[in-house]
Structure formats: structure tokens, C-alpha cells
């Protein structure tokens, strides 16, 4: 990629987009004029409504004889803050209430031997509701007055009897903390939505818009590559998204300061020291930048498929709804940033900003959110680069790498899945896992595990069947030679040992997720070892192998060399487990299994390898004593350098033995 060209194209995109009226409206007019205007008008409206409510004269009637006019005088005497109550005498009370001649009437009944006042009102009429509150207040006073009378008749101190203790509150949260937690509920939502709105129009304009205006072919006549075109467009969209988010924040900040001054002017206490928010803002900005990359790439991915501005608008609406929905998570109280939510795109950023504003700094959570957002951003940029094949977009070549949206009767039979389809299936599976699997898991751990595995199995399988792919070839449905099973098991034991060291190192860095992992495993399994073996060893071994060594690896190895295909699908396999501590070890295991699957052209050795790995992991949790006897070094609390070297050496020996079994076999076959 030539950066001079990227820079020039980037400048051109920015200039072109900025001169579009729609972008300017979204970027400048909405945040800088519309928001403050809406707020000021809204505040004025609220004030005038509440003033008119307070100054109103409410009409009340009684459905009983008010002896001596005690209640009447209490009601009419209770005139505060401008409102007044007037008691009238009307015969048909229900009619009067419905015709809004009176706002409320009070009946009296004896319920369980007790005199009960029933306030009858219309909840649909604002004045009636407001009057009810006032009437109830007066009746409470009346009730209190009666109590006091009774106590005093018994010659007691009413105050002492009614309130033997006094209660007072004292807020130890600093003004900054209360202001922060208040901002935390709304700022993340506004930020995410404004970021999305800011990227939406440039994303449509630079992709579908360019296509509609026919300028892409002009760019293609220049000595530039597709990668340079797409990358400069992506940078431009991300820049505009970030700038518009900043403008939104500035505008919101301005409104905040204005309201703060207003409160101070009204004599309310609120000395907030803005400098205390600086660390939160710095970390927040980093996460928001990573998120901006992600959201820009995602909205461009959606728009690339559209032929026109209109079509792109239709495609991006569902995305907007999903993002808005997910970003509302910060408004739900008591949802904390657990390590599962820390991996949910959109939701994680919102919760992190909320925590940061409330001065909760957790290194583990921050790093997971930051890393996962950078990772999602990179993945979506990579995906965008893959689907951004200008020739296919511009000339509608017909040979797009996304086949799944084609007419089914047009799909060719056989072969392995197309590249674009694979990415799409991966994305859908990941989302389904996080949202559907996650939701079921909240309800019931076991069912959640089964649901997640079925999603992992069924989505690629159904996609392959729908696109008429060769299932035998894609999922490597073939009986392997027995040597691959033995060799595979040896390799997986070796890889596990090496992986243990990797997990150990990662575990010391990300302590947070290491403990959570063990806890959640204990929770699923309960006491039943066989059930645990079925749920966390056998089921994933089958489903995940079908997905990763079947669907994903077959697609990659069809296009790329074995090395690249194995590493990429291994890393995807590692990322899929959504656990930073496990990431390196599972990626390594993934690559090892890819190798055996590649050699044996069968999925079965991989399933057995996967099962072996999961079974050993399960056994160490269920029967730690037995494992300790067999392999004491595995169960040590802390490892010395000598132990690490020993485990690594052992691991490498196992891997070499495994490779030997695979390859000696191969030579024999050749000799025969």
C-alpha cells in the first residue's frame, strides 16, 4: 500500500463528503444547534407546564357529611406554592368527575371496621392526577392530626411516640462522583448513537453513493489498488465519525456546563471539579477511538452491498436499531461490566464509559474492552477489505464472494463455501452465540451450553446445505487411517502442555478472567462427571470441529496456503472462546488440530483430539487428587522456571512423537 496515494485519496474523500449537505447537517447542525435548542425549548416547556399545574385551583367534592367543616377547612387551608383547593357541593359526583367539573372526589367507607377515605380520580386527566396527590397529602395530615389527638388524650408526648428516633442522610459521594454517575447513564448512549449517526452518512456516501454517481470507475483508471481505495475511504469515514462524536460531546458538555451554572445561580450546591474526570476521559477516548474504527467498518460493510443511496439507507436502518438497543444497557441499573459483557460489542463500551465516569477503574475490564474493540475493529476492517472487491462492485461481475444472497436456483452445486459466506456465517454465529446463547445461559447454564453448541453446529451446516456445497468435502466426512488418531492424540497432549504455560502467562496478566473461568466451569458441572463430559467435552468436540476445522478451515485452505489457513482459522478458534486467558492456548490447539485435519483429510481425528483435551481439563477439575498423583506438576499452585522448562520439553517431545507417528505412516504408505 502506497501511503502517498492513501493520503491523497483520503483528502479527496474528506473534501467530497464534507461538501455534501447531508453530512454537514448531521455533523454540525444537529449537535451544535439542534441539541441545545431542543434542550432550551424543552426546559422552557417543562417549566411552563409545571408552573401552570402548581398555580391551578383544583375543585374537590365530598361524598359524605363533613361534620363541622373540619376537612373543608383543612383542604382550603392547605394552599402552598401557588396552588389552591376548593371544596364544592355537587350531587352527581361521578358525572361531575367525568365532565371534569370537579378534579377529584372523596368517598368514605368502612373497610374491616376502619374508616377509609377513597380518593376517586381520573388517571388519564393530568389535573385530576395532580389533584389526587395534593388530596392524599392533606388526608395524611388529617390522619396524623387524629393520631396526635389520641396520643395527647393519653397524656403522652406525641412527637416522642410517633418518632422515637430521627433519621437523617448524609451523602459521602463527592459532587464529582454523583455528577459522574448521573452522566454515566446518558452519555454512553448519546456518544454511541452520535458516533453511528456521524459515520452513517459518509459510509453510505463513499460506498453506495460513489457507485450511484459513477465516480468509482474514474478512480480505477488511476494507478491505485483496491486496497488503497477502500482503506482511504475507511479512514475518511472513521475520521468524520470521530469528529462528529467529538462535536456531539462538546455540545453535550456545553449544555451540561450551562445547566450547572443555572443550578449554581439558583443557589444549589454543586462544586464539580472537572479536572478529576481527566483520567476517565483519556481512557474513554482510547476505547471510543477503537470503537469508532469498529463502527465505521461495520457500517461500510453494510453499505458496500447496496447499489444506491436509497438501498444503503434501508440496509443501515436495522444496524442502527441494533446498536441503539445495545447501547441502552448503560441505562439499566445494576448491570455490571462482567468479563462476558466486556466482550459484547457496543454494550461493553457503554458500560465502560459509565464505570469510568463513576470513577471505577478496573484494569482487567478496561484492557478486555480495549483489546476486544481493537480486535473487532481489525476483524471488521479485514472483512471490509475482503468484500471490497471493486471489480465485483463496479461491474457487477457476478462472481462475488458472498453467494448466500443469490437466487438459490443459481447456486452452483459442490465445492467448499465462498469466502464472503464464511465471514458472514462467522459473524452471524458469533452474534447469535453472544446474544441468544448468552440469554439462554442466564436462564440455565446447561441449556445455554447446549444452545451455544447447536448454534455453532447448525449455522455453518445450514449455510452449506443452503448454498449447495459439497458437505463431504467441506466437513471432511471421511474415515481416517488409524495412525492419524494416535498421532493426533499425542500431538494434542503436547500442545496442551505448551498451552498450559501460555495460559499460565496470560493468566498472570489477566487475573480477572482466569478466576471467572474456573468458577463458571464448576457452576455448569455440579457433581455429575459424566454429564460434564458430555456437555463440555463431547458436544463441543463435535460441534466446534464441524465449524472450525470443517467450515472455516476448508474455506481458508481452498484459497490460501496451508500455513496461512491454519494460523488464521486457529486464531479465529482462539478468539471464539472469548476468554483472553485461554486465547493463546486455544489458538495453538486450533492450529495443531488443523494440521492433523489437513494431513488426514478427515474431521474424526480432530474430534478425538478435541475431546481428549476437554476431557483432561474436565478431569483436573473433578478429580484433582487423582490427576495430582499421575502428573503432580500439572496441579502445582505456582511454577518455577525448572517446572516450566520441564513442561515445555515434555510438550515438545509429545508433539514430535505425534508428528513422527503421522509421518512414518506417510512414508510407509508411499513405499507401498
Amino acid at each position: 500500500m502506497n501511503f502517498r496515494i492513501v493520503k491523497t485519496l483520503y483528502k479527496k474523500e474528506i473534501l467530497d463528503v464534507l461538501r455534501d449537505k447531508k453530512t454537514v447537517i448531521m455533523m454540525l447542525i444537529v449537535p451544535l444547534i439542534l441539541y441545545p435548542l431542543m434542550l432550551i425549548v424543552g426546559m422552557q416547556l417543562m417549566t411552563s407546564i409545571s408552573t401552570s399545574m402548581a398555580e391551578h385551583n383544583y375543585i374537590i367534592a365530598f361524598d359524605f357529611e363533613d361534620e363541622g367543616g373540619v376537612l373543608k377547612s383543612m383542604f382550603e387551608g392547605a394552599q402552598e406554592e401557588g396552588y389552591s383547593l376548593t371544596v364544592v357541593e355537587i350531587s352527581d359526583l361521578d358525572n361531575a368527575l367525568i365532565n371534569e367539573e370537579i378534579d377529584v372526589y372523596v368517598r368514605k367507607e368502612i373497610v374491616e371496621g376502619k374508616e377509609t377515605f377513597i380518593v376517586t380520580y381520573l388517571s388519564a386527566v393530568t389535573n385530576s392526577s395532580y389533584a389526587t396527590d395534593l388530596v392524599i397529602d392533606v388526608l395524611k395530615d388529617y390522619s396524623l392530626q387524629l393520631t396526635v389527638d389520641i396520643i395527647e388524650e393519653a397524656n403522652l408526648d406525641a412527637n416522642q411516640v410517633l418518632y422515637p428516633i430521627d433519621i437523617a442522610i448524609e451523602d459521602r459521594s463527592s459532587n464529582e462522583e454523583s455528577a459522574g454517575s448521573l452522566m454515566g447513564t446518558i452519555v454512553p448512549f448519546m456518544l454511541v448513537v452520535s458516533l453511528l449517526m456521524g459515520t452513517m452518512y459518509p459510509a453510505i456516501d463513499t460506498t453506495a453513493g460513489e457507485r450511484e454517481r459513477g465516480t468509482l470507475e474514474t478512480v480505477l483508471t488511476l494507478p491505485v489498488t483496491n486496497q488503497e481505495i477502500f482503506f482511504s475511504k475507511f479512514l475518511a469515514v472513521a475520521t468524520i465519525g470521530i469528529v462528529s462524536a467529538i462535536l456531539n460531546l462538546v455540545s453535550m458538555g456545553g449544555i451540561g456546563v450551562y445547566m450547572f451554572k443555572l443550578m449554581q445561580g439558583m443557589g444549589m450546591d454543586g462544586g464539580v471539579n472537572m479536572s478529576q474526570f481527566v483520567p476517565a476521559i483519556i481512557i474513554g477516548v482510547m476505547c471510543v477511538l477503537a470503537f469508532a474504527i469498529f463502527i465505521s467498518a461495520i457500517s461500510m460493510c453494510v453499505c458496500v452491498f447496496a447499489k444506491s443511496y436509497k438501498e444503503a439507507n434501508n440496509y443501515i436502518t436495522p444496524l442502527t436499531l441494533v446498536v441503539m438497543f445495545a447501547s441502552m444497557i448503560s441505562m439499566i441499573p445494576n448491570v455490571s461490566l462482567s468479563s462476558n459483557i466486556a466482550l459484547m460489542p457496543v454494550a461493553n463500551v457503554c458500560l465502560l464509559i459509565r464505570d469510568l465516569l463513576a470513577f471505577k477503574f478496573e484494569f482487567g475490564a478496561i484492557s478486555i474492552v480495549l483489546i476486544s474493540n481493537i480486535l473487532y475493529g481489525m476483524l471488521s476492517v479485514m472483512f471490509l477489505g475482503k468484500i471490497y472487491n471493486s471489480e465485483a462492485i463496479l461491474f457487477s461481475d457476478g462472481s462475488t464472494s458472498v453467494q448466500i444472497f443469490e437466487r438459490r436456483s443459481n447456486m452452483k452445486k459442490g465445492g467448499v463455501p465462498a469466502f464472503g459466506d464464511m465471514w458472514l456465517v462467522l459473524a452471524v454465529t458469533l452474534l447469535m452465540m453472544i446474544y441468544v446463547g448468552g440469554l439462554v445461559q442466564v436462564d440455565d447454564m446447561k441449556r445455554g451450553v447446549i444452545a451455544t453448541q447447536l448454534i455453532v453446529l447448525l449455522i455453518p451446516l445450514l449455510a452449506s446445505i443452503y448454498t449447495k456445497k459439497d458437505l463431504k468435502k467441506t466437513f471432511k466426512l471421511k474415515l481416517p487411517k488409524i495412525k492419524f488418531v494416535f498421532g493426533g492424540v499425542l500431538i494434542i497432549i503436547g500442545a496442551m502442555l505448551v498451552g498450559m504455560i501460555l495460559t499460565g502467562i496470560a493468566g498472570t496478566i489477566f487475573k480477572n478472567s482466569a478466576t471467572e473461568m474456573t468458577e463458571s466451569m464448576n457452576y455448569i458441572m455440579g457433581d455429575n462427571f459424566l454429564l460434564a463430559l458430555l456437555l463440555v467435552a463431547l458436544l463441543p468436540a463435535i460441534c466446534e470441529e464441524m465449524m472450525f476445522r470443517g467450515f472455516v478451515f476448508s474455506t481458508f485452505s481452498n484459497k490460501l496456503s496451508f500455513g496461512k489457513a491454519a494460523i488464521i482459522s486457529g486464531v479465529i478458534f482462539g478468539a471464539y472462546h472469548m476468554n483472553l486467558t485461554q486465547f493463546f492456548a486455544t489458538s495453538l490447539l486450533g492450529i495443531a488440530i488443523c494440521y492433523v485435519a489437513y494431513k488426514s483429510e478427515s474431521l474424526l481425528p480432530g474430534i478425538i483430539m478435541h475431546f481428549t483435551n476437554n476431557m483432561i481439563a474436565t478431569a483436573t477439575i473433578f478429580y484433582p487428587d487423582i490427576v495430582k498423583k499421575i502428573a503432580p506438576v500439572l496441579m502445582k499452585e505456582s511454577l518455577y522456571i525448572s517446572d516450566i522448562i520441564f513442561i515445555l520439553a515434555l510438550g515438545i517431545i509429545f508433539v514430535c512423537l505425534g508428528l513422527l507417528v503421522l509421518n512414518i505412516g506417510a512414508k510407509k504408505v508411499q513405499k507401498n
Partner: protein, 255 residues
């Protein structure tokens, strides 16, 4: 100058009964363009002219075959170098309406790797050649059709290409504008530039081209001079000769 060897471009087309069929829009075409010659590419609609020109300009990758450029005695097949030597203009290469012609030319110059001084000098030169002083700083979306076409041509001139590929450059223009373009092309030949030129206007082709290539259904059906074709078919003008040739191919072609 530019040589195409056995170019094939296969597309997949949806037929009426939703069956997908593959067809070759360009079917094994080899062309050799020499320095200082104007070659006309003629053919009925859908013959594969635009696909061929796109492949020659490296906008589109051929399914098989290759495009080679001879650059100062060296043969290259690098897309970047080929694009660097070609000025490509077609009805589909629209301009950025929100930019001015000067801004556009600046961007083009930058991408072609020219220095600031080179760019501003070249813009002044082009401005004079194409007579664009009055509108060079206006937004392109505000220009008239003729002015837009001149702006389009200026884009192709920016990097002083050795070869022009023009896909129907006079389509939809009035006589004045189109004759200005025809004269421009003729001038560029005098300067030793090569031109590959596709058109539906036979008079233009007859007036300009040193050599014509007529293609139908992705294959070359005639290659040679205009005079030669007229003699072969026994007609007085290219228009009639073309029609007879095309009709022989089984295409019902009427003007």
C-alpha cells in the same frame, strides 16, 4: 506500445428461466497498438467493446490472457505502470461533482506522483489547451455538458499519457463540442500519442482512424484500414460497409 494477448473475459448471466449461463463478453482477442496510431474499435451494442477497453486500461482483470505495455523498450505487465501511461475516458468515468476541476486535477496529479510545481504548471497548460479558464474553479456539478466533457478530458491529460483509451467520448455532445474533441484527438496523434477509440459515429471513425477493429459477440470480425474494408465489401462509405459486415454475422443492424 500496448499489446493484448488472447484476452478472454467470462461473465455469468441470468437467463429468463433463472438459469445461470456463462458467456465470454470478450473471446480470445489479441491486439497490437503501435505508437502514433489511432485505432477505432467498432461494433454493435453488447459486442464487448467496453469490456475490452476496460481490460486494456487495466480497470478489469481478464479471465485469461494478458495485457503488456512496451515502455521505453521494456515490456511490463504491472497494472500500476500500465495505468500510469494510459489516459482512460468513458461514459462511465464520471467526475466528483462537489469538487472543482482544479481540485480534481490536483488530486490526480498527486496520485500520479507529480510535484506541486509540475502540477500547477500542467494545470495551466491544460487550461489553455482545452480553454477552461472561465470554469476551472467552479464546482463540476454546476458545469454544462460540454464543459463537463472538457473537464473529463483534462483529467486524462494530467499525467501526459502516451496512450489514450476513449470509450465513446462524443456521445451526447453537440456538433461543436464533439468536433473539438475529434480535433483534439487528431492533434494528439501529431504529438506521437496512440489512441484507442470506440464510437458509434462512423463518420468520426472514417475521419480519424488509421485502422479499425470491428468486433461482434466478443470476437474480432474485421481488422484493417477503413479503405480496405470499403473495397472488400464494395461500399462507398464506412457506415454501409459496417452494416453489411454486421448483417453477415447474423445481427439485424439498422441505423
Amino acid at each position: 506500445m500496448l499489446r493484448a494477448e488472447h484476452l478472454v473475459k467470462t461473465f455469468t448471466k441470468n437467463e429468463k428461466k433463472q438459469k445461470k449461463i456463462q458467456f465470454n463478453a470478450v473471446d480470445d482477442i489479441s491486439i497490437d497498438i503501435k505508437e502514433g496510431e489511432i485505432v477505432g474499435i467498432l461494433g454493435p451494442n453488447g459486442a464487448g467493446k467496453t469490456t475490452l477497453l476496460r481490460m486494456l486500461g487495466s480497470l478489469m482483470k481478464p479471465t485469461s490472457g494478458k495485457v503488456i505495455m512496451e515502455d521505453e523498450g521494456v515490456l511490463v505487465d504491472d497494472e500500476r505502470i500500465i495505468k500510469q501511461t494510459i489516459g482512460y475516458l468513458s461514459g462511465n468515468t464520471k467526475l466528483y461533482g462537489r469538487l472543482s476541476t482544479r481540485e480534481l486535477l490536483n488530486i490526480m496529479g498527486n496520485i500520479y506522483g507529480m510535484t506541486k510545481e509540475e502540477i500547477s504548471e500542467r494545470i495551466d497548460e491544460i487550461c489553455k489547451i482545452l480553454n477552461m479558464e472561465e470554469f476551472i474553479d467552479n464546482r463540476i456539478e454546476k458545469l454544462s455538458t460540454g464543459q463537463t466533457q472538457r473537464a473529463s478530458i483534462s483529467r486524462c491529460l494530467m499525467h501526459k499519457p502516451k496512450l489514450y483509451i476513449f470509450d465513446e467520448p462524443t456521445l451526447g455532445l453537440d456538433i461543436l463540442s464533439s468536433s473539438a474533441i475529434v480535433e483534439f484527438i487528431k492533434n494528439e496523434r501529431e504529438n506521437g500519442k496512440s489512441v484507442i477509440y470506440s464510437t458509434h459515429y462512423m463518420e468520426e471513425a472514417e475521419y480519424l482512424c488509421d485502422r479499425i477493429i470491428i468486433i461482434n459477440a466478443g470476437k474480432i470480425i474485421y481488422e484493417g484500414t477503413v479503405d480496405n474494408l470499403k473495397q472488400e465489401v464494395g461500399q462507398e462509405n464506412l457506415r454501409d460497409a459496417f452494416r453489411i459486415l454486421i448483417n453477415k454475422e447474423g445481427v439485424d443492424y439498422e441505423f
